[in-house]
Symmetry: C2
Subunit: 347 residues, 2 copies
């Protein structure tokens, strides 16, 4: 029995398993390929079919241990699922259908193989919920932290592309869902989860928003099909910083009325417990992965109600597009200059 156990342990050691043994284990459960995958993992490149008349969407995003996730904050499968969601969110923000993922792993040589397999499996489940297949990737040893680097490919009809550059003066600024829960969840984890100020259901909601955000793929498709959206992106670095990207690329000024920001209930409680204004707490928190978009006020009522009907997500008007540059944050109609900043990896 002892011998058998030793053998199992040895088999799950990266040095014994080796690169190709690891790849075999990782890709064993990702299912049969079909639906456009002519050659999947295991060749020099994947061979893929994009639907006739469609454009290709390509995005990549990395998750690094200690920077983007912590092994003591999330279950391994949730870490993988989140890495998938972060990339799915980018395809959603372009109005596209996610299709194929390539997963590049940088793995510390002493990393536990079972944990790695659970992370990978979570990623695979996260993708398959949205009809996306893992078609290739890479594994390398590293002296640094575990890194999951995903490239996600999608497709979109040419007249449905949602980009950041089309916001027009007079448009309204909208956001799906509610904001602040991811930041609230992160805060609960970093502070050791104080339960006094927050009931259990709200706490669970905030933790789930942080650990396994839901990419707004359906909302993105509805926005793309509506034909009225002029600019769209997902909120990953924080509402205000992200609004600044639309302002810059569309060469307009975005006005955000912070009192109109839809604040998640848990975020409201956590903000109160640290004496921060809930709307500011929510607007500064990144990683909610809701969609921020602009559209002419006249044509947007139908798409807003369609999103509500089909996805259950509220859509809130939080501002307007004006002539000018940058983001102006207003409270009770008055500009608050000190609120204009987003998250930056090196600052």
């Amino acid at each position: 029995l002892i011998q058998k156990k030793t053998l199992v342990l040895k088999k799950n050691n990266l040095h014994v398993l080796g690169e190709f043994g690891l790849i075999d284990k990782l890709t064993a459960n990702i299912g049969d390929h079909s639906n456009g995958v002519m050659v999947g993992p295991g060749d020099d490149a994947a061979v893929l079919a994009i639907q006739t008349g469609h454009l290709l969407l390509a995005t990549c995003d990395s998750q690094i241990e200690g920077v983007h996730f912590r092994l003591d904050w999330s279950a391994p499968a949730d870490i993988g699922k989140r890495a998938a969601a972060v990339n799915l969110s980018d395809i959603a923000a372009m109005g596209g259908d996610p299709r194929f993922a390539l997963v590049s792993l940088a793995v510390p040589k002493d990393f536990d193989v079972d944990t790695l397999l659970k992370i990978y499996q979570g990623m695979s489940v996260g993708f398959s919920s949205w009809n996306t297949q893992i078609v290739g990737g890479n594994t390398a040893g590293t002296s640094g932290p575990l890194m999951l680097d995903i490239t996600l490919l999608g497709e979109v009809l040419p007249n449905r592309v949602l980009n950041r550059a089309g916001a027009r003066v007079g448009d309204i600024v909208c956001v799906t869902g509610t904001l602040g829960n991811a930041r609230a969840g992160c805060r609960l984890l970093s502070d050791g989860m104080p339960s006094r100020d927050l009931d259990e259901a709200l706490s669970r909601e905030a933790l789930a928003a942080y650990r396994t955000p839901v990419p707004r793929v359906m909302a993105g498709e509805i926005l793309a099909a509506s034909g009225v959206v002029t600019a769209c992106m997902d909120i990953s670095d924080g509402l205000i910083g992200d609004a600044a990207h639309i302002a810059k690329q569309s060469n307009v000024e975005i006005v955000v009325d912070i009192d109109r920001v839809p604040v998640a209930e848990a975020a409201r409680c956590v903000a109160a417990s640290i004496d921060e204004l809930p709307e500011v707490f929510a607007a500064k928190g990144g990683e909610d992965f809701e969609l921020l978009f602009t559209a002419p006020g006249s044509g947007s009522a139908r798409v807003i109600s369609e999103i509500g009907d089909k996805t259950g997500l509220p859509v809130t008007v939080i501002g307007e597009v004006r002539k000018g540059q940058g983001v102006v944050v207003r409270m009770h109609g008055r500009p608050i200059p000190e609120l204009c900043s987003g998250f930056d990896h090196f600052k």
Copy 2:
């Protein structure tokens, strides 16, 4: 004057420059997008057009400081150029045209920005030599080493795909170019470049093979267009280990006559200086990025001479495909069992 210099230094500090400042600097010189790029860097995803009737190729490969490259062994631009070449080689091995690259960077927070810009610029030059544009990417801070993770997209006509699974009993096994120079170059660097056994021109050749390998894109296209190639891959982990991949995926046995392996001149000298058989030294050395392919003997003469005529590369027949499994290495016609292994990242 001092103040100005301080300012310049500060501007090139990642903490001051910030993530978006860095992205602006990185993408400032990559040129105007055209030729299928509808939306380039700076949006949630790139929007790309694949030629009608073509299949998409997708591959990814990472280069990690201390594992795949060393800053004291190569100039920054060469590190970038090499990262591009490693990925271009994978598209070449599938018979495709490289088109679009996504570059994901994990950067230590104290990393020198000028060095990073030079690496990125080298990558961009490496890609543009093969008509490939950088269309997107990601930057993240890391507590680990610098990592360049590239996803490369290409296109190929459906009847021109070269994969690993089609080798047939009776085929011959061929390799482009000569082998061993990359390993020789690496050896020269790790041993502090002994000049006694190697003249300067050969030494330069070996170092160039290691630092800036040339992807065999043209040879791959000729092989794909020939219609006779049954399996193909690039040699990245070493001839014998890579031949094992074709054997496994084609469900055949590959016989390699090691005395027929085309050994580069510098590799021959370096092997002699360490008392290793030159053919074994060359066959075990990875990262030559030559193409290894199988084809029926009868139909391959024309494609071999075409590659010679159009690219100047020799093509050498080094073995044959038999019924069975795995790789058999023969010397003077006799099997040498102890020679069957390739490079593995975790072993």
